[in-house]
Structure formats: C-alpha cells, structure tokens
C-alpha cells in the first residue's frame, strides 16, 4: 500500500514538474516568436475550448442524468399523498430552471467564442438600454412570483393542522437514536418532564407517573397507557399521521425522504409535521424492486459524532396489521412497574385495582 502511495506521489510530482517546465519554456518561446502572435494563438485556442466545454458540458449533463436519475426519489415517486404534489412542483421548478440554465450558459459560451478577439473587429460601444433592462427585470420577477405562489399554497397545506382523525405519534431524538410514543387507548399523551428521565428504569422520556415532591410534580394518569418503542414506528397506509417531534439533548432532525418531509427536533420546543402514507412498506418493496427497502428516518441535523448512524425505521402497514401490532404492545408504565401490570399473573388483581384507583 505504502509503495503504491509513494509511487503515486512521485508520479504526481513528476507530472507537476513537467507541466511547470513546459509552461516556462513556452513562455520563452512566445517571447521569441513575438508576444502578440502567441497571445492571439492562445486566444483562439481558448475561444474554441470554451465552445467545446459548452458542447461537452451539455452532453455530460445529459449522460449524468441518464446515469443518476433512476437513483433519485423523483424516479421512485412520492410515498405520501402530499409528496405527489411536491414532486410536481419539483419537476416544474426543474423544468423552468433548466430552460434558463441552457439559454444563459449557451449565450455565455457562445458569445465568448463568437466575439473572441479578431483582427479589425471593433467592440460595440453599448453601455445601457433601458428597454432591455426592464425586460429582464420583469420576466424573472413574474416567473418567480408564479413559483412563489405555487410554493406558498403548497407550503400552507403541508404546514396546516393535521386532518382530524390523524394518527398521532410522538418521536423524540437523542444521541443517537429515536424514541417513539403512542398515546394509548385514551389518545392523550401523558405529561413528561426531562428531570425525571431515567433510562435504567424504562423512563427514557421522563413520563411523569409518580408524584415528586421535590420537583413539585403530580403523576399524570394519561401516562399509564402510553406505549413507548424505540427505532421503529408503525403507521397506517392511507391514514394521515401527525408527528410531535422532540429532542432530549441536542438538535436532531426527522428526515422522511420518501414522504418528502423533514422537521427539526429541538430540545424544549416541540415541532410537528404530518403526512399521509400511500404505500405500505411491502408495496414499496415491490415498487422499487428492492426486497430490502425500508422507510428510513435519517437524522438530518448534525448532532455529534454518531450523527451518520442515527437511523429510525417507519413501517407502513394496513389498518389490520397495525391493530394487530398495537395489541401486542404493552404500556411503558408496566415495563417500569412490572408489579402494576394486570397481565402479570401473580398480583394481577391488586394491580388492576391500583390502576383503577389511579385512573380516577
């Protein structure tokens, strides 16, 4: 390995010296030949190179698109209902900007080539033209206005309140993983407080389920049926899902690429987003023809040295499957207090009453 490296270095240095020497020599030669002549020659060469750069550049852009478009999400299609509209907007924006790109780059390199210095050519003294300037102020302004209007209409749709009946899931980021919470049967999230977080005792979110005189906390019964999972979130195909996003330590970001959504997780300031999944994970495996396909939650905000590995999974399933999964989940409260778990046989009865009492 080290010999290859040193060989590469030696080769690079040699190439470097050769280029440098050739460049120096050509400078002396140009002095002998007459500077003006060399300059004109260089001018011609560079004029043509600019034109060539443009032609090959456009070809390369096309080839690049051929090779890479298939690997983008646009090719895959949005996995959320809202994302479909977003893809449309993306494609419209791509179309508009690409047209502008081609025209302006063409003019730039074409003018450079066409108007390269020539014997006897006199530059055209053209300092300003109000008409032209008004034209190219208004056209971009109008085009952008159209993009802004479309963009904002869509923006207000996706940032509006989630539709009624949306499944609500809380997701909390921590270095370096995700904690999910479902509100349980009462459909209410119990209150949490970061000072009572206790990872050893199954209270990774700081659910307030005990009175705490020191911190002046009162147990919130809504916590007793909350379900807490890590890394994997189950949501239902066709049912809007609203995420309440929190962080336990630094800023993270819930990146949902296939659903075209993204929102930061900020400690102390909950954020939300919602979307409607339109394909189950199984369906996506087929659509992408990738048996390993999963919806991934990628942390998109630099959060420390493990940032690159902060991954969550979203399983999109149909309602029946979701219900079956949910039925298997136990409230986190019982994990922390196994003695209160009604399904734990030995003390089943007493727990039930205890829960009943607490629920009052």
């Amino acid at each position: 390995m080290s010999t290859t490296v040193s060989l590469i270095i030696v080769a690079a240095i040699l190439v470097f010296i050769v280029i440098f020497q050739v460049a120096k020599t050509s400078e002396y030669i140009s002095l002998l030949k007459g500077e003006d002549q060399t300059r004109k020659q260089n001018n011609r060469i560079n004029g043509w190179l600019l034109l060539g750069f443009m032609v090959f550049g456009f070809i390369a852009v096309w080839l690049c698109n051929e090779a890479l478009y298939k690997k983008t999400l646009l090719h895959q299609g949005a996995a959320s209902v809202e994302g479909v509209k977003q893809d449309q907007m993306m494609l419209i924006t791509i179309a508009i900007t690409f047209i502008v790109f081609v025209i302006t780059q063409f003019l730039l390199f074409f003018f450079a080539w066409k108007y390269q210095e020539k014997e006897g050519r006199q530059a055209f003294y053209f300092a300003h033209s109000t008409k032209l300037e008004i034209i190219w102020t208004t056209i971009p302004a109008i085009t952008l206005l159209i993009l802004v209007v479309f963009g904002l209409r869509f923006w207000f749709t996706i940032t509006s309140d989630a539709p009624k009946g949306a499944l609500i899931v809380e997701i909390t980021g921590k270095q370096f993983g995700w904690i999910m919470r479902y509100p349980g049967k009462d459909n209410i999230f119990g209150k949490t407080y970061f000072r009572v977080i206790n990872d050893e005792n199954n209270n990774s979110l700081g659910q307030i389920w005990e009175d705490n005189a020191e911190l002046k906390l009162k147990a919130d019964p809504a916590n007793f049926d909350d379900i807490v999972t890590t890394q994997t979130m189950y949501v239902v195909k066709g049912r809007p899902v609203k995420l309440i996003i929190n962080s336990r330590d630094v800023i993270h970001d819930v990146g949902l690429n296939q659903f075209r959504m993204k929102m930061d997780a900020v400690p102390g300031i909950p954020t939300t987003l919602w979307f409607t999944p339109q394909y189950t994970t199984a369906e996506m495996k087929e659509r992408t023809q990738n048996p390993d396909f999963v919806y991934e939650i990628s942390c998109d905000q630099m959060c420390g040295n493990g940032h690159y590995s902060m991954k969550g999974i979203i399983e999109v399933v149909d309602q029946a499957e979701f219900d079956a999964w949910m039925a298997k989940q136990k409230p986190n409260y019982y994990a922390a207090f196994p003695d209160k778990d009604p399904s734990a046989k030995p003390i089943a009865d007493s727990t039930k009453t205890a829960v009943a009492v607490l629920n009052k």
Binding site: N43, C64, E296
Partner: protein
C-alpha cells in the same frame, strides 16, 4: 473642492517624503516595518492574500482527507495514521476526526479564505488605487485588522492540536451541540478556541470594513464621484457595509454562547438530558442562536460573493474591450442584494419549526433576490455580446464565475422555496448549491482578481500557460465534483454523514462518491500549479514593462509599475469620466484621467 483639501490633509504624512524623491519609502524603514508591520495598504493586501492562500491549502487539504473517507469508507490509508495519529487509527479516519475536518474546512474557507482572503486582499489593494487615494483612511487600523486576523488564525490552528480535538459540530456551530462538552468531544476546549478565534476575526473584519467605508466615502480623488467609481469599489463598499452591520450580531450570538457554556446561563439551553443526567437549564431557545447566526450567516454569503461580482464585472469589461452593460443597474442590483441580504436569513430555518406564516415572507424575499441576480447575469452576458474578447486567464476565470453563478444561483430557487426546501434541506443538494454559487464561484472571482491584478501587485506577470491549465482543470473539476451532488440530494442523501453503508436509501451512490473524491483530489493538486506559479513569479516572473498592460481605464494603472507607499509619485490624478469608456468613438480605451473631449459622443 472640499474633497481635494481633504485628500491633501491626509496625504501630508506621505508627501513630505514624496517631495524630494520619487521612490519614497524604497530605501527607508527596516524589513519589519516595510513587510511585517506595514501600514501600506498594498503590503497589507498581500499579507491577507498570502495568509488566505495558506488557509485555502489547509482547508482544501482537509476536504481531500474527508472526501477520501466519503469515497473510500472501507479503505485503509496508513499514511493518514502517520499524519493524524489517533484520529486515523489503523489508517481509518475516525468519526470525530471526520467531523472536525468538515467543520474546520467550512469555517476556514468561509471566513479566512473567502472573507479575509478575498475582501481583505482586494478591498485593501484596490480601494485606494482605484479611487485615487494614497492609502486607507486609517492605515494603522488597517494594519491592526490584519494582525487580528492573523491572531484568529493562530488560535484556530492551535485548536487542531488540543487533545479533545478542534470543534466538530459544523461551521454553523448550533447549540446545544456546540454548547455542551458532553455532547461531543469537539465541543470542549476546541469550541472555546473556535469562539475566541471567531471573535478576533470579527474584530479584524470590523476594523477593515469601517476603514473601507470611510475611505470610499471620504477619500476619492477630485472628479471621482460615486457614479464614476469602478464596480469593484461599489462591490467592496456594499460588502463592507454588510460586514459592519452583521458581524456584530454574530459576535453577540457567540458571547451568549460563551455565557451558556461557562457561566450557567440558559440563552440557548432548555430541557436537556445528556450523558445520564438532566442539566439545570430551562427556558432557553436553541433556535435563538440560529436567528443570530444566520443574521450574519446570510449576509456573509454576499460578503463573499459581492467582491467577486465586482471584480468579475471589471475584468469582463476590460477584456471584452467594451463598457460594462448597465452600470447603474449593476450598482442598483448590488444595492438590492445588500438590502435583501438582511431580510432572508430565516430561509436557512424553514425546518426548525419556524412559524409557517413567517416563513412565507422569507420565501418571498428570498426568491426576490433572484431578480437582481438575474439582472447581473444578463448584464454580464450583454457585456460579452459584440465585444472583442481577450482570453487572459483572468478573463477565463471571470467567464467561469458567471457560468458557476448561473448554475448555483438557479438551485437557490429550489432551496428558497420552503415547500421544496423541506425535502432538500441538509441534503447534498444544499452542498452542491452553496459550493457552486458561493464557494467555487467566489474562488473563481478571487482567482480572476489575482491573475488580473498580479502585475500591479508584484510588477511581474504570472505564467500564462500555467494559468490556462489551472483554469481548465479547475473549471471542469468544479462541475464534475458538484454537479452530480444534486442527484444525491434529490435522493435525500444527508450531508455530514461519515458513511452511508447502513442506509438502504443512500448507499446506491458508492461509485459516484468515489468519482467525486478522485475529482476533488485532482482539482486540489492542480491548485499547486497555481501556487508554484504564484510564488515563483513573485521573484522570477516576466517583468511588467508598461504601466497599463491590460489597456484598462481605472486609476491603478496610472501608478508606477512598482508603486511605493503613497501610490502616485506626483499629484494624485484627477478622474474625468467613468471607468468604462472602452471602444468609444473608435478608441480602444480612454483612461479615467483623460478629460472629456469637445466632440466626444455621449453615452
């Protein structure tokens, strides 16, 4: 008339020497006062330039190392371990080192290279020369500005050698990550040094900026009205105003961060449980920092871009042998950009939970910036139209700048639109966008400036052939590196990832990442051609034999080939016209010092 007296007052310090000999200062003063603690704006400019080059090499090298990791995550590079020790155990770059390199690469290139290296060099060099002044309003503060920058650099450099490593939380340094040593080893002493370095840098930038503004407003030579200024000077002026108004806000943000780190305040901290314990802080807002940061951070983009735009305008005009098209529109669009720069910062924050209604205004204002940008592009294109173009290396870099500015500017329309940003935010699309439009484009502007004004700086030419090779490798390389990144972004591939192998959604780009890394290495190596050319030519380059080698109109080309401190031997020349009379009435060029003739046509 009052301008003239003012200049005379100022020039007194220099003129008593200038009276009796042309080469004043040539044989006075020690090496130390002439080259090190010099108060001559031209020497200070060169100090900024060479320090900037030093940092560009460091920052560029860092990018090569972390690109090796992205391109070849499984390869082992024993030489890396030799170089970096613990950071590359077994020849494998460690995550903490990867993040440290990414962070310092960003910080150094944005602030030390493209702010200090660009504005520091060319504002210093060109303002007095092009407005017709003997030096800056305060040469002493100008010198201090450099030395504060130098000190900032020393501290940043030292932070690389502390045991817990330099800061590694990204150049934007968002708290709580940057506020808590427990969150990341880089946020320990490394972050303190980062902040001290930034604070010194801000002082440097303010001293410089105030000086540039004062000089441009007060010290123009007779006849040099604001509307006769070359566009370079307008650009430096707006840049300085932006810097003076926005850098203090960053400083305030940094100071609050220092308080949070060391004095138990909770400006940015709330509800944090880290390393097995809850922190006492409550009620702070991590988002507050982002507002303060981006209130500088966005104008900063234009602090970097405007000088490049100004120089490119000048170079395009000189080498097309045509006036810049739409001078007033160019000034107006720079003014519009400078104003709007302050009103768009929150477009970096669409996904922080920012109120969507507020976000809507930032969308509107952000996309509005595209209008003055478009005007500039069309004006540049029209400047080339029907010209008689000379492709000096400077001109090629200027054309390259326009090309890159178009490519990178257009993708800004995606990111400024919140509905699309919500998908593209923090992906490689962003990396591609800002590297092309701000990083590489401004670097091209800087290169154009160096190639164009090198003869004035050192009295010698750079080697042209090397210049051409340098340009073409860099131009092709820039597109090869950054163009495909748009596709990675459209696949949602997040930035700042150490590796992608565990991600089903992003691992399809392995080969592409290798290609990009190899291209980055080649482009980095090609810069050594420039470096060799630069330093070799200072002493051995072909000598400049005429005062005005490019046939340009601006005042710097009326000074002696090697101007001393004070710039002009005799009287400061008077400006009689704007800077862009190229090809007028059949004349190749008409210097600003030429009085308007009786039968001259009007423009």
């Amino acid at each position: 008339m009052s301008e003239v007296t003012h200049i005379h007052e100022h020039a007194v310090g220099v003129s008593h020497e200038a009276h009796h000999e042309g080469h004043h200062h040539a044989d006075h003063g020690s090496f130390l006062s002439k080259y090190v603690f010099s108060q001559d704006h031209k020497i200070i400019a060169k100090q900024f330039l060479i320090t900037g080059i030093f940092w560009a090499v460091i920052g560029g090298f860092f990018s090569v190392v972390f690109r090796l990791q992205i391109g070849f995550p499984d390869a082992k590079f024993p030489w890396l371990e030799t170089l970096l020790g613990e950071w590359a155990k077994g020849g494998q770059l460690q995550p903490e080192a990867y993040y440290a390199l990414v962070t310092i690469h960003g910080t150094v290139l944005v602030f030390f290279v493209l702010t200090a290296g660009l504005s520091g060099t060319f504002s210093n060099f060109l303002i007095p020369l092009q407005i017709g002044a003997r030096d800056m309003a305060s040469p002493f503060l100008n010198m201090l500005s450099y030395w504060f920058f130098f000190a900032a650099g020393i501290i940043m450099l030292s932070s690389l050698f502390v045991q817990t490593g330099p800061f590694s939380g990204g150049w934007t340094a968002y708290p709580p990550l940057s506020a808590l040593g427990d969150a990341s080893p880089g946020s320990k002493i490394g972050m303190d040094m980062w902040m001290i370095s930034m604070a010194l840098f801000i002082v440097s930038s303010l001293l410089g900026g105030l000086n540039y503004i004062a000089t441009i407003l007060n010290m123009r030579t007779k006849g040099m009205s604001m509307t006769r200024l070359p566009l370079t000077i307008w650009a430096f002026f707006f840049t300085a105003v932006l810097g003076v108004l926005s850098f203090p806000v960053l400083l305030s943000g940094v100071i609050l961060l220092i308080f949070d780190r060391h004095f138990g305040t909770s400006f940015y901290l709330s509800d944090i449980f880290i390393n097995g314990q809850a922190l006492p802080n409550e009620g702070g807002s991590a988002i507050l920092y982002q507002h303060l940061f981006w209130f500088l951070g966005h104008p900063e983009v234009y602090i970097i871009l405007l000088p490049a735009m100004g120089m490119v305008s000048e170079i395009l005009s000189v080498n097309s042998r045509k006036p810049i098209f739409g001078y007033m529109a160019m000034v107006g669009s720079m003014f519009a950009i400078a104003i709007l720069a302050f009103l768009v910062w929150a477009h970096h924050m669409f996904v922080t939970g920012l109120n969507p209604f507020l976000g809507a205004f930032f969308v509107l204002l952000t996309l509005l910036i595209a209008v003055p940008s478009a005007i500039k592009v069309f004006n540049w294109l029209t400047t080339l139209w029907k010209g008689n173009i000379r492709f000096t290396p400077a001109m090629l870099f200027a054309i390259g700048f326009v090309s890159l500015f178009i490519s990178g500017g257009l993708t800004g329309i995606f990111l400024g639109n919140s509905a699309l940003d919500i998908q593209l935010h923090d992906t490689y699309f962003v990396i591609a966008h800002f590297h092309i439009v701000m990083g590489v484009a401004s670097m091209f502007g800087m290169m154009a400036g160096i190639y164009h004004w090198y003869p004035k700086m050192f009295g010698r030419y750079l080697n042209n052939g090397l210049g051409y090779i340098h340009f073409w490798i860099t131009m092709i390389g820039a597109y090869v590196i950054f163009w495909p990144m748009h596709y990675e972004g459209l696949a949602g591939m997040p930035r700042r990832y150490y590796k992608y192998d565990i991600w089903e959604s992003f691992k399809q780009f392995g080969t592409l990442n290798q290609i990009i890394s190899i291209a980055a290495i080649i482009v980095f190596l090609a810069q050594f051609l420039f470096l060799a050319n630069f330093f070799y030519s200072i002493w051995k380059g072909r000598k400049v034999t005429s005062k005005n080698p490019w046939g340009a109109n601006t005042l710097e080309w009326t000074t002696p080939i090697n101007p001393g401190h004070g710039n002009w031997d005799g009287e400061i020349p008077e400006a009689h016209r704007w800077a862009y009379d190229y090809g007028k009435d059949g004349q190749e060029f008409i210097s600003q010092t030429t009085p308007v003739g009786d039968n001259e046509s009007k423009h």
